[in-house]
């Protein structure tokens, strides 16, 4: 069993697994790894079930000491990896001997690197998940220097000898996201779909696991005086407050809201959004509402 010790937590490092789906009716955000494909792949390469809990870093990486022999995979945002000061491979299983220190450096591109450990991490669970939720405070607090986090038993199957698929496709300076229009397109001005299709937005500094705040063209409401009663929101929703500045909701999004959602991006775009730094440009490719919503 044993544990890892946090030597350097960086600006924000959290524990993340598959999150807490199924509790949204009690105002519990889904949480879980923000970049799911990277988290899943790092776990697979570490020989874990894909739902295992890993560390999710933010821009600055982190440093950990192992207190037992453990295999580690650093995936997600590419970064320099060292063990006791010696360079090691990013995106591949690295054997870490008890007492050794692994450093995942600052993200070279993207935002969030994942440190997956064979056996997975077992911090305090809340509602069946080890994920930190920044919005609700459920799950373990973000890690601090000196924290120790228990490791699960090593998996029976040794880590797969797979190579990380290269090149990592997660991040560009500009991301184009397919936006499924609805549910509240009718709350927006006539030109909103045109604006969405031709506008370019920039990820602002006020962005986190709850959502990306986007600066750029404003999306005008049809009638700003109309208030929408609170309604459920899905991850990937593009919500527009009356000021017209959209917010793209991420893993720790609120479960209900009173501002209209103009469209929703799918899983691949949500993963890309999780790796979008402030300054990244975002364009949308609007997908019309499905036919079934028009015939009613």
């Amino acid at each position: 069993m044993s544990h890892i010790e946090i030597i350097r937590s960086g600006i924000l490092t959290t524990c993340q697994d598959g999150g807490r789906p199924g509790w949204a009716h009690l105002a519990v955000p889904p949480s879980g790894a923000a970049d799911r494909p990277s988290w899943r792949l790092a776990n697979q390469l570490a020989g874990n079930a894909t739902a295992a809990c890993a560390l999710e870093t933010t821009l600055t990486g982190c440093t950990v000491r192992a207190h037992r022999n453990v295999t580690v995979v650093v995936g997600g945002a590419p970064c320099a990896v060292t063990v006791d000061g010696r360079p090691e491979a990013w995106g591949q299983p690295v054997k870490l001997a008890a007492g050794s220190v692994l450093d995942a450096g600052p993200a070279e591109v993207g935002v969030r690197s994942y440190l997956a450990f064979s056996g997975g991490l077992h911090p305090k669970a809340g509602l069946g998940s080890h994920s930190t939720c920044l919005l609700s405070g459920l799950g373990p607090a973000p890690v601090k220097d000196g924290d120790t986090i228990p490791l699960g038993p090593s998996p029976a199957h040794p880590p797969l000898p797979t190579q990380w698929p290269a090149p990592w496709a997660g991040v560009n300076d500009e991301i184009v996201m397919k936006l499924h229009l609805g549910p509240r397109l009718d709350h927006f001005a006539e030109d909103a779909v045109d604006e969405l299709a031709k506008g370019v937005w920039t990820v602002s500094e006020q962005s986190n696991r709850v959502g990306l705040r986007l600066t750029g063209p404003t999306l005008r409401h049809r009638d700003p005086a109309i208030e929408l009663p609170s309604e459920g929101i899905v991850a990937g929703s593009l919500q527009v407050p009356p000021n017209g500045r959209p917010i793209l909701f991420g893993a720790d999004h609120p479960t209900t809201g009173g501002y209209p959602v103009i469209g929703v991006v799918g899983a691949a775009s949500q993963a890309a959004a999780a790796q979008a730094r402030p300054g990244t440009r975002i364009r949308f490719a609007p997908i019309p509402m499905p036919q079934w919503s028009e015939v009613l």
Partner: protein, 218 residues
Amino acid sequence: MTAPQNTTSGGRLKPLPAGPRGILIDCGTGEAARACYRALQARRVNGSLEATDLVPGATTVLVDGVEEPELLAAEIPGWVLTDDTGHVGETVEIPVCYDGPDLEAVARIWGVDPEAVADIHTSVEYEATFCGFTPGFAYLEGLPEHYHTPRLEEPRTAVPAGSVAVGGPYTGVYPRTSPGGWRLIATMTNPRRLWHEHREPAALLVPGTRVRFVKVSI
């Protein structure tokens, strides 16, 4: 063949797309939304609906994590909703002390003496119609329309845990210290009851729960 009407709403349920795996059902009224939520729960229990989340809102229900939303969407407008009450368990009593900082302001808005605010607030049996904002927080409906209360112009940055507030048509209790724009009229003596993640269910006030406030003095 004629499509059956939804008896509760009088109107049709309107499915709206909420991404590739979600449907937001606009039910028109809160009563229809509650009936629709119960209908969806029943379908999930009997295995005819697979969904990750069912999220009631004020006048909507969100169905999230559906493999083929178009099939569900085609079905929804024909549903017949029943008027069965969806109350969950016994009425929950919440002891509170009417000592909130906005008590006098709310009395002025309601056009009553400050002492009467407690009498009015305790006389209503509320229903937790939906949850949101933070785990353990439920939107409680039941206040007559003339006691609906405008929200603060400037929300507070920190409302203490246990604060009992009124805002719009709702009343509610803050389970933990958080920002808030509702007017504070009272304090719950033991707000830890509202949320306990190792209890089943974790929330004291799940959708469908009936609630009464009981006046106590410290």
